[in-house]
């Protein structure tokens, strides 16, 4: 368990964007692993199995939440989302260059958690879970075009947050 707990927790935390929920999901993943211990202990792909289960449980958790509350809180947001203007923002080359690696990693994780779910999910599935656009569209039950648009917007939003926070961090590191 110790060998995989960081990987499982990271997968869940980046997808659900909440550490407490991610810990609950990670716990569920390891309980499922315990139930299937007989197969897993002799398998060379235990890590892949755990990662897949962590991803699926995280997505199930998100979809369950979405179904439960959509009626009251997300319909209006989804409608307005269609009219959202295109975002154009490039990450300046040197924005995080002067920032310590640990600080940079923390900034990126924080920026990821601040992204709205509709942007964070496809971005994480693409960059961390290494799924193709088609696989993401299938997993999220949305169109291919929407996946591409959401990932593009997520990158722009992430770049913006990183630029803002990166400059702040660099400034604070330079400060006496």
């Amino acid at each position: 368990m110790r060998a995989y707990q960081d990987m499982v927790f990271s997968t869940a935390a980046r997808l659900v964007g909440d550490d407490r929920q991610a810990e609950d999901i990670a716990q569920e993943v390891f309980l499922k692993a315990y139930e299937n211990f007989g197969q897993l202990c002799t398998s060379s792909s235990a890590g892949g199995w755990l990662k897949t289960v962590a991803r699926n449980l995280s997505l199930n958790h998100i979809f369950r939440y979405r179904r439960r509350w959509r009626m009251f809180s997300e319909l209006r947001r989804e409608d307005s989302e269609e009219d959202e203007p295109e975002v154009e923002f490039a990450l300046p080359d040197d924005v995080l260059a002067g920032v310590d690696a640990d600080v940079r990693h923390g900034l990126i994780e924080e920026a990821l958690q601040r992204l709205p779910e509709r942007q964070r999910l496809p971005l994480v599935l693409y960059h961390f879970e290494e799924l193709s656009y088609e696989e993401i569209a299938q997993q999220l039950e949305v169109s291919l075009a929407k996946v591409k648009t959401d990932i593009f917007r997520a990158r722009a939003a992430l770049a913006k947050v990183l630029a803002e926070r990166g400059v702040t961090a660099a400034t604070s590191l330079d400060a006496p």
Partner: protein, 149 residues
């Protein structure tokens, strides 16, 4: 290639590099303890807490028989409440220790029979509206707490 396309490609390249270098996050120190505690409690859980499918056969049969008994009693009570007061079925004499139960049931039955059906339907409608309203308030509160968090 358009300047916009170039910017998008450059952004993708930079973020891919930044995210690829991102290390896995450290799991909370409580995770391992939680999993082990859950496994121990699961192993020690008594049968009825592990779901009906895991119960012993005798317990499942007994539970089924008891459930049928409860349903039968509920049906008898419903029939009794629906029976007119002057029916011979109501005049059955119960032991004196539980005669108050008969009185109570007869009283409830007479109230149920005298309430107009419109009131019953209106009451059900009010209950349904209250349920939906509370669900909405709960959803909004949850949403606010989640956004605040």
């Amino acid at each position: 290639m358009s300047p916009d396309r170039n910017r998008q490609d450059e952004l993708e390249r930079q973020l891919t590099r930044a995210l690829r270098d991102q290390p896995t996050r450290r799991a909370p120190s409580t995770l391992e303890r939680r999993v082990l505690a859950q496994i121990e409690s699961g192993a020690a859980a008594i049968g009825w807490r592990r779901g009906f499918a895991h119960w012993p056969l005798a317990a499942r049969v007994g539970f089924f028989v008891a459930s049928v008994g409860v349903v039968k009693v509920a049906l008898l009570l419903a029939m009794w409440l629906a029976t007119p007061l002057d029916s011979p079925a109501v005049s059955v004499q119960l032991p004196s220790q539980i005669s108050w139960l008969q009185t109570l049931l007869v009283a409830i039955g007479s109230i149920v029979r005298t309430v107009p059906s419109v009131w019953v339907h209106a009451g059900l409608a009010v209950l349904a509206i209250m349920y939906v309203a509370l669900f909405g308030i709960g959803a909004s509160a949850y949403r606010m707490v989640r956004v605040a968090h």
